[in-house]
């Protein structure tokens, strides 16, 4: 079974966001694989270790530097990569169209991706890809079992945990709690350099979203800070909760 994993290169989640010329500055920012996608890569590798997946193809859309994200996934254990060269201003619609076109050419049995990217927080692209390919999808999974042409997924649904079954080929998006991604080994990093990565141009379509401006939220200012005995602090904190916040005590 061929598995495609969609990854996106994002800022490290510890990164402080700053603006330059009205845009988010990437100066000095450490770039990583989106943590939710990294879990999808690990999930695919585990499927291969179980003998369910036979080939793992990792794909990303965007600028040339996305190649680093592909190499990291290859070092973890993916077999080959595809870089879909696309303007970084592409919106979720345009990215889904570009990725789906490249995925279609591969005829996979399973498409994995993180359910959301830690940067734009859109949580749209995997589901859009499923719609374009005409595949079923399941979002936010924490476990998967593949047998008899079906994927049985445990998902973190609203108000509980659901087990959902879909026929494959399907698009499945991961929650970070699915697994603990491995660190690439030295051997893996060496091997990754020799693994094939194809570069294709994105299908050109117009965005459906226009960014008007980007801003930073008003900085929160520090208020009272008490350094005193615990009992004094606790009494004053209780007083603040009751009289300033006006909490209701059950």
């Amino acid at each position: 079974m061929k598995v495609i994993v969609c990854v996106k290169q994002t800022f490290d989640t510890e990164a402080k966001i700053e603006l330059k010329d009205g845009k988010i500055s990437d100066a000095g920012i450490n770039l990583i694989i989106n943590p939710y996608d990294e879990v999808a890569v690990e999930g695919a590798i585990q499927l291969k270790e179980k003998g369910i997946a036979t080939e793992i193809v990792v794909i990303t859309a965007g600028a040339d530097k996305g190649m680093d994200a592909i190499r990291t996934a290859l070092a973890m254990g993916a077999d080959r990569g595809i870089l879909v060269k696309q303007d970084t201003g592409a919106d979720e619609y345009a990215r889904a169209v570009a990725l789906a076109a490249a995925i279609k050419a591969e005829s996979p049995q399973l498409v994995l991706a993180g359910h959301v990217a830690a940067d734009d927080g859109s949580s749209q692209v995997p589901t859009r890809i499923a719609e374009i390919l005409g595949f079923p999808h399941v979002n936010v999974i924490t476990a998967i079992d593949i047998a008899g042409g079906k994927a049985t997924c445990t998902t973190e649904a609203d108000g509980g945990t659901a087990v959902i079954e879909v026929a494959i080929p399907a698009v499945i998006s991961s929650q970070v709690s699915w697994n603990e991604p491995r660190y690439p080994s030295m051997k893996g990093i060496m091997q990754a350099k020799k693994k094939p990565v194809a570069t294709v141009d994105a299908v050109a379509v117009d965005n459906k979203i226009k960014i008007i401006d980007v801003s930073l939220p008003a900085a929160k200012t520090a208020g009272i800070k008490l350094e005193d005995d615990a009992d004094v602090c606790a009494v004053k904190l209780a007083d603040w909760m009751k009289n300033t916040v006006k909490v209701e005590v059950k």
Binding site: T13, E14, K16, I24, E92, Y93, A118, D119, D120, G121, S122, S123, Q124, T127, R128, A130, P136, H137, N139, T142, T152, T155, E156, A157, D158, G159, G160, A162, V163, I164, E165, V176, N207, K208, I209, K210, I211, D213, S215, P217, K220, A222, G223, I224, K225, L226, E227, D229, A230, C233, A234, V235, K236, L237, A238, M241, V245, V247, V249, K250
Partner: protein
């Protein structure tokens, strides 16, 4: 064109608060506001929806809609959009809301602004403020496709009291069994007497400083006294003291309660991103240099194991 639709989030007839928030906010504008509800035996929900501003309540009543499934819900709403031509549709930014909105957006080849915290919808134009980088930045975007689609973060708007006419429009059931591609084998509801983390008015969170289940118990005790949801920083989730669904921060949930109480949380950037928009923030931490104090309205430099028990008994007075 028929104004803006709000897709109603409900389970077993219980409507989620975010639905009322969306109806109330839209009612402030001049356009027609409609609620759209799918389910089995849900027509009786119309008066409740009207009370918060629904001029019309579109109802699709069928056993197929008894629980959420993407295929049937999207097929049904697509048919209704074709028949009634709304300018814009708002969904809750929830598991089901973003799932349905994303598949719908692609089917209609339109734009979708997810996790919006502000909206300006007039005459078929939709401009939204979206939270990006888990709230570290805000992007103002215009959806240029049609209809305009967005998912709205719970808790950003108030529930109002301006009523609408609430005229019920029964929609023909257009979805068929063939549209269903997900089979729900089981559903285990989270058994908790506490409110949902994303919608709670008060959140009490525990971090590394809780040192283990005993510290978390204190956090829970305080939470229950305040009718609060319990949350955690990455440290307490990774240590297995709390389930992942309770993680607050960039790889967890973004919350905006009236009061956030951070217990033993130092305040890593990715955690601050998830909670610093809360109206009031209190923090208890032994480290006076902890970054959490830079966003706290009321900070206490002390041991939570000593502070919380006294705080609990003081609050009970």
């Amino acid at each position: 064109m028929a104004g803006t639709w709000v897709f109603v989030e409900q389970k077993d007839g219980n409507i989620r608060k975010v639905t009322f928030e969306m109806l109330s906010e839209l009612k402030k504008g001049g356009d027609e506001v409609s609620a759209v509800v799918f389910g089995k035996g849900v027509a009786g929900l119309a008066p409740e929806l009207a009370k918060c501003g629904a001029d019309k309540v579109y109802v699709a009543d069928d056993a197929m809609f008894a629980s959420y499934n993407t295929g049937a819900f999207v097929a049904q709403i697509v048919a209704m959009i074709k028949e009634f031509s709304p300018n814009a549709l708002l969904f809750a930014h929830s598991f089901n809301g973003r799932d349905m909105a994303s598949r719908l957006a692609q089917k209609l080849e339109t734009g979708l602004a997810t996790d919006a915290v502000a909206a300006d919808i007039t005459a078929g134009k939709g401009i939204f403020t979206r939270s990006i980088y888990a709230g570290k930045a805000l992007a103002k975007v215009e959806v240029t496709g049609s209809p305009v689609l967005a998912t709205i973060r719970p808790g950003v708007w108030e529930v109002g009291s301006t009523a609408g006419a609430g005229a019920v429009v029964n929609a023909a059931v257009a979805a068929t069994a063939g549209d269903v591609y997900q089979v729900e084998k089981s559903f285990a509801a989270t058994v908790s007497a506490r409110p949902d983390l994303a919608e709670a008015a008060v959140v009490v969170s525990g971090g590394r400083g809780c040192k283990g289940p005993d510290g978390i118990k204190l956090v829970e005790q305080l939470a229950d006294l305040l009718g609060a949801a319990v949350g955690g920083s990455r440290a307490s989730i990774d240590s297995g003291w709390l389930g992942h669904e309770l993680q607050v921060g960039q790889t967890g949930k973004v919350v905006l309660p009236n009061l956030y109480v951070a217990c033993g949380i130092s305040g890593a950037i990715q955690h601050l991103a998830g909670m610093s928009s809360s109206k009031f923030i209190a923090a208890v931490n032994t480290d006076t240099e902890a970054p959490i104090f830079s966003v706290s309205d009321f900070g206490v430099v002390a041991d939570l194991f000593k502070v919380i028990p006294i705080l609990v008994s003081e609050l009970k007075k």
